[in-house]
Symmetry: D2
Subunit: 340 residues, 4 copies
């Protein structure tokens, strides 16, 4: 950690900072430059990180530069070889196999979900996706089928040998969801819902944590850290597009987040090109790009009749399109030493 | 609502859309242009809005353009003269008086909060602000004093004739907070925590709803709509800075949001130049700008000893600086026909 | 084109708009909805586009919605099969072959450029890249070798059977550059330098047009249109990263721009993962992603001694790394039915 | 300057960096922390800034942190009291008086410009604004009247005792413009057109430099530095809105840029709420906000008949609205110890 003093900082101000650094049990190294004094801080910084960072509020301080990352359990150095997470029924993510989850935005009926589940299973998906509790920006939009939806999802998954990933919106839903769900999804809007994250840290079920619409990767990893610090290490990250000035597509899928996360963390990362683009015909090229960049998996929206979907119809693939996408992904995977 | 067909849409595709529009109980007006056919939709669109919008997923459709806003209760047209909200003890917001809330980021001790409360009351603040439950991006940061903090906040507010605004992070906290709190604050990270918003719709206490870091103003108003659709109309909006490419300051305070909200909605809007800038010396100019642009109030962080603050020290004013800021705001207010 | 009148628009205001539409030689179709009147405009809109769009400044008008794109010559519909552009010496771009340009950010000396040219040619590059005129944000940074640099670049390219792409910063440089350069590059900062674009429209040399840091894809295509409207149709677009809130990397490479451009335009598009990431170790995964998403080519920075580079050392590959990247691209290409 | 070595950097790598620092004539101070080694660089860093910064490309280096700003002549420290720039005819900017420029986006005819000039002069403007050379995103839009327009602008300005500010798009236009123009405006799209900036550094006429749509404030000041390093110190900066995810208005006017520039630089700064909002009814509140935040001036679009304007009609004020805005600004100015 480095404390940059202002050019006009007084000797008293420098001494004060040095004293505060010692108060935190660290050592201060002074470097007197031509323009200003810089103080290098050495010692157990992690232990006193926030107290030391607050010194930027002291008189005479220009900036406090922290070099190390604030996340610990999620850091690559904890498991340099990368985490392989067991999702159940012999399925793992983070290893050589690219794992694909597919299904509708929301479960709408028994017929709908069973039809989708059958088709995505046949095309090679490993997990069924579909929401029973739906976060919608308008209170007047369809809010999901609730527990009845969970039952339909579970039934359709089991009938087709699929695992089930579905979204949890509030800590109070966890108990009702546990009997049905293999992977608990945290949506982008809830990435910093710390009550929910802490509650998910206390269960053992894997969590798929989506990046918030304007979250930095450090913030994403800190949210993972909330879950992991409770004891649940089974966290899968998901890049689903960020909000930028560009409005042609719904979001800007930040493909570079994949190699950056691989460098910073040992956690697996998947991509969601459906939300990441918001347009059906852009899903396949972005799915290919994500795999080429090193993604551990994909999560794809598929609906048998998109124009009658109760949500996200515009970005949902027809089942036949999903089967084609799987063929494309199968062609790309070996080039990055992966398989589907 | 307008449905733009693609240039290569077939007659069957156009007919199909017309049939679907009628199915929704609306009328379709066809306009055959040189390049494409456009369909105007007339009737009770609000009733079938999402079904009609999903037609953009149908074959042959280029885009569905919705003209009206999706929020209803929050719309300006509901109360063209603007809402004046009663906060208790005779204080109202949305009228001629500019209401100022001030206090530390978090309550840390009895001494701290009583000292701040006394100084901000003396300088002219009407509400005390301060968090007892703190949403922090790192699980290793100070998370707030909880209920003990609520008691200290209430005591300090009462002793100084102030109302109290403090953040609620989860629906499960509402009950414990109600005996202590005058205005329930929803933080930027929770702007789309719909469980929380629905729960706040069921109480009668005023809610200060902060704009999410990358939320559009339409999304902010839809979140207000979640609260209002439950029956609680006492919603105060808060512009607190958005995330942009510019990193010199912590956020970009979107001052234009103030007149835009005034046009779109009847709800009062306040500005938070502390989070909006993240730097102590930028708070006063941005507070002046917000008032000049028409804000109904301000929320300002003040701490007696910022360099030892457990959070947000860098953007907290010293009590003396807050008193100066109040003088500046008092000078600006009459120029916009307001008073402090 | 659709003119949405405000809910409170008067009959006179509607009549006025209808009259103005007729004045432009178009027809107006009125649709009277429950909330507002909408006017559909039919006829030769392209001819009067800006006059019609300015009607949004008239009283009673809420918004004017234009459906068609403002670019003409660059539109996909002009050449639905896509453009294949001849770069000289039998090299074409836009066809099945993925074209790779590689070289240093700037030419610095004869030794440097000849060493790089030899190594990238050996690894499979088709063009040599390298700047002789350098746009630098600081006036105190290295500004390039000028014409002397052009000579060195040409020599190194010829010796290794490469074509040469290099940046033109101002219309006044075109004449001196023509004898040396195969492809004229327009940098991101100059994407809307209309004098330069017009001047490039008057020559016959191919132009590589980089997307501005915050340019929409429509703006990029309009800049291409400036060149094409002068008669030079040999325009190659380049996605080189946009500016977003995310600061971990230098820019956010917008991979989705590739399939979007392919839909909107017939022009070839290449990706620049060097500027798009700003970090050497992120170049290869993003190059793979770009190819998987359908890019027609790549432009890559390579330097024999990055830490002594006069610019962009941090993002420059070592020659050996570039050879590895070419192998990875060769592995991906067949999966998208391309070759290198 | 600080060089942060990676946690796994070898002793040789550290020694190499120390040697390179000495090669640049600076001293290296090593701080050995628990996690990594940090090297403080002391000496004449400014002289070797870019060479030292390129060390981030060397093996074993995590990051090079530069503390000082790269601009020199524009820095506040050069003239702590702030620059007051003489625009001619006794008008200065940067002092107590708030200077207002007003007029149409483009000069369109003698009648138009004389009518606007008379009305804005009467309302209190000091400069006439209006473009004769127009940068338009589409090659098919109105491109300005050229030199004929300059004559009309000069005539209208003289007749009404106004100074004239108008945009220069290319270095080749400077000569033709000099006889007519008091202040040369550089548009947002040309903020990094370095040829133009250098050419403007060689004349003595004041320059109004607009911030690019996605330029950081450091980049804006570096562009000012290009002009100043040529000897022309008369640079006035202009905040005109940045591009963000928010699309309700055309741009996001970054009011905080005003106090930040005041801290970083001695140059005057004005605000352009017309381009900054893109909507006529948002211009006045944002003009008030800019003045309240400390702006030295305003530049406002006014047109006698906006719906027939050849450009920017939607954001142009009617002359009567401009007169009202001036009254509002006159009311705000004294509160910030300024006058109009």
């Amino acid at each position: 950690m480095i404390v940059n003093m202002r050019g006009d900082a007084t000797e008293e101000q420098v001494d004060h900072i040095v004293a505060r650094i010692k108060e935190c049990g660290c050592q201060a190294h002074l470097i007197h430059g031509e323009e200003r004094t810089v103080i290098g801080v050495v010692g157990d910084i992690a232990q006193h990180r926030s107290e030391l960072e607050t010194l930027r509020a002291a008189s005479g301080v220009e900036e406090v530069v922290t070099i190390s990352h604030p996340f610990k359990l999620a850091a690559r150095s904890v498991r340099p070889e990368g985490s392989v997470i067991d999702l159940g029924k012999g399925v793992t993510i983070g290893g050589p196999k690219i794992v694909v989850a597919a299904g509708p935005c929301a479960v709408e009926s028994k017929e709908q979900i069973e039809s989708v589940a059958a088709s995505v299973a046949k095309a090679g998906a490993t997990l069924l996706r579909g929401g029973a509790f739906k976060p919608r920006s308008s209170p007047y939009s369809f809010q999901g089928m609730g527990e009845e939806g969970l039952k339909l999802l579970r039934g359709a998954a089991d009938k087709n040998g699929l695992l089930l990933v579905t979204e949890v919106m509030d800590a109070s839903q966890i108990e009702v969801m546990l009997p049905y769900v293999d992977v608990m999804q945290v949506g982008a809007r809830n990435m910093q819902n710390y009550h929910l994250l802490r509650a998910l840290g206390e269960i053992e079920r894997p969590v798929l944590l989506k990046r918030g619409m304007s979250a930095t990767l450090e913030e994403l990893l800190l949210s993972a850290e909330y879950i992991m610090s409770g004891g649940n290490y089974k966290v899968i990250l998901c890049e689903r597009g960020i909000r930028t000035f560009d409005t042609y597509l719904r979001n800007t899928l930040d493909i570079a987040a994949i190699p950056v996360i691989k460098q910073l963390s040992h956690l697996p990362i998947v991509a969601d090109p459906s939300h990441g683009t918001g347009r059906r015909d852009k899903v396949a090229p972005m799915a290919r790009a994500a795999v080429a960049a090193g993604a551990d998996g994909l999560i794809i929206e598929v609906h048998p009749n998109p124009e009658r979907a109760l949500s996200d119809g515009v970005q949902s693939l027809y089942p036949g399109q999903f089967a084609e996408l799987m063929d494309e992904v199968r062609a790309i995977a070996p080039a990055v030493h992966r398989e589907v």
